[in-house]
Symmetry: C2
């Protein structure tokens, strides 16, 4: 594993994106978002995903010059068209606008259709929390998960993000509707390990912890079985209805062909009714109640969502971003 300074990685990504036709005013931001994702420890969706992002530009699914555009306004609600541009830049703009609407109206909502994969969903939760707002956002995806009771992948794993601002570090939940991602199952299989809990069905239709069996059956579990399945359906419906955009069943099920997806961004202003520092103390007290909980295993402790992020961030900024040698070599060769 290489450790490379943030600025050096970002400069390398900027160089690649420029060659691909990105405009000057956006290239730094797009590269930064990839680096920040790796910096925060979400390695699957940061630099390790850059090559796949580049592939979607080369195959025309992502138009590097397309900018998101507001199509309709109605009070605290706006509908945007992503014009199939870079999904991370569009999502950043959409949450930015939801935050502005939330400041003005107490709650703001942007429905962003015809966009592309936003990479790490938590980015936009952190964005809201860093602005002192509660952020809620979700995306639909290509069909990659069987619904509860179904044998075919017709629903998406539709990540849902909820973020709460706190002076001592935001609380950010970033969760897909599948219990385990294919990437996670692959990692377990390569390490020769079983999943810690049931993750899907084997070829005979039995619940299993065997990651290889689930990869073969293509039947991973929705988180919470029928519950995550139902939530995935509702998130997809609402996103498609509010954007007038595509629902999961209309999206290509080939990863590098996935495009024209639908996303929702909500921002709530916790400072609307009380001084923000006082309101944030309410979240602090909930965190304390978790930390005071007796652990299930001696010596461990209960954590809040996102608790490790600031620690990982500090370490990766101090030591350099961790980058696999082959990933780094590929980027330098692009």
């Amino acid at each position: 594993m290489n450790r490379i300074p943030f600025a050096e990685v970002q400069a390398a990504l900027v160089g690649v994106l420029r060659k691909l036709g990105f405009a000057d005013d956006r290239v730094e931001i797009c590269a930064r978002l990839f680096c920040e994702t790796t910096r925060d420890g979400v390695y699957t969706h940061g630099i390790n995903r850059f090559a796949r992002f580049v592939a979607t530009i080369r195959n025309g699914r992502v138009n590097p010059l397309a900018e998101p555009e507001v199509k309709a306004r109605f009070g605290a609600l706006e509908r945007w068209d992503g014009h199939q541009g870079p999904g991370n830049l569009a999502a950043l703009a959409a949450m930015g606008r939801a935050i502005a609407l939330g400041r003005e109206h107490g709650v703001g909502c942007v429905a962003l259709g015809n966009t592309n994969h936003w990479m790490r969903g938590g980015t936009y939760g952190w964005q809201a929390a860093d602005a002192g707002m509660i952020g809620i956002c979700w995306t639909n995806t290509m069909p990659n998960l069987p619904p509860w009771g179904g044998a075919e992948r017709v629903i998406g794993n539709n990540p849902l993000i909820m973020a709460v601002p706190r002076a001592s570090g935001p609380v950010v939940l970033d969760m897909a509707m599948s219990q385990f991602s294919y990437g996670a199952m692959e990692s377990y299989r390569k390490r020769g390990e079983m999943l810690p809990v049931d993750g899907g069905f084997d070829a005979e239709g039995n619940l299993t912890r065997d990651p290889g069996a689930i990869e073969k059956s293509w039947r991973p579990l929705p988180m919470g079985y029928w519950k995550g399945s139902g939530l995935a359906v509702l998130l997809d419906m609402v996103a498609a209805m509010m954007t007038l955009g595509q629902a999961t069943y209309q999206i290509s099920s080939v990863a590098v062909l996935e495009t024209a997806i639908s996303q929702m961004f909500l921002a709530l202003n916790p400072g609307a009714f009380g001084p923000a520092p006082e309101v944030e103390k309410i979240a602090d007290a909930v965190v304390a109640s978790l930390h005071n909980c007796a652990p299930a295993k001696p010596g461990e402790k209960v954590r809040y969502p996102g608790e490790q992020t600031l620690h990982i961030r500090e370490e990766n900024m101090r030591l350099g971003l961790p980058v696999e040698p082959e990933v780094w070599a590929a980027i330098l060769a692009m």
Copy 2:
């Protein structure tokens, strides 16, 4: 099992509520909400729960005369105080106001603090959908669930509701953050059955499907393990912050003493940008994609959340509400 006409059950509940001091203009609505919950097949939270509701009036936790009151307004966002009145009436008023705000601003939000158990959360999802709006609401609860990694019950099962309007029947998801409720586990145990999937830990800390073992350990599982645990934490934080009300850790863990809880109601207007019938067709097409999915077991079919409700409703209106004889006798004796 008795089958008693809706109107007869409602009249009986009205009689009890009058004796408990309910005002004339609200008694019919409160009774109706209990009957509608049983009518729709959510038996745990309808007439079967009425005695427990009455107990909370008698012990002073629910003030039958208290009405919810708006405390602060900020554009599309309002903060309400439930004054510890009947939780179902306060929630109905709060979602009603969120719907009005949503019509005016595209999105509306009411944060309702200091309220009581709303009984069936799906009621307020149906309310939004019947008004042509997308409804999203959640409540916190008393501590009744261990967080992931914890041995003590310090988080709530915090039900989350999402509802989408459709001419042919709303899609309504109504799910608690526990994989199984204590009521469900009790039912399985009494029938001598194992849970269909892991539902909690036994006394040795092993995952189990044995409902009795989980009832003894008081360690049911959050749905999706760490995922539902994290979502429960965020729902609680946001509700407490936006209401300036109580978080789960501050609420009594004795069921009939639970009071002063915090709830969020959001309404999104799907007709803001396009003709509502066209927008609802987007949801119809998602439903069709589920119905067209090959089932995991031959002869079964994939259902959308709330799909059975209209069928059950029709049957219970035709045959009469199903009421256990002892439950009915107890109501008549109140």
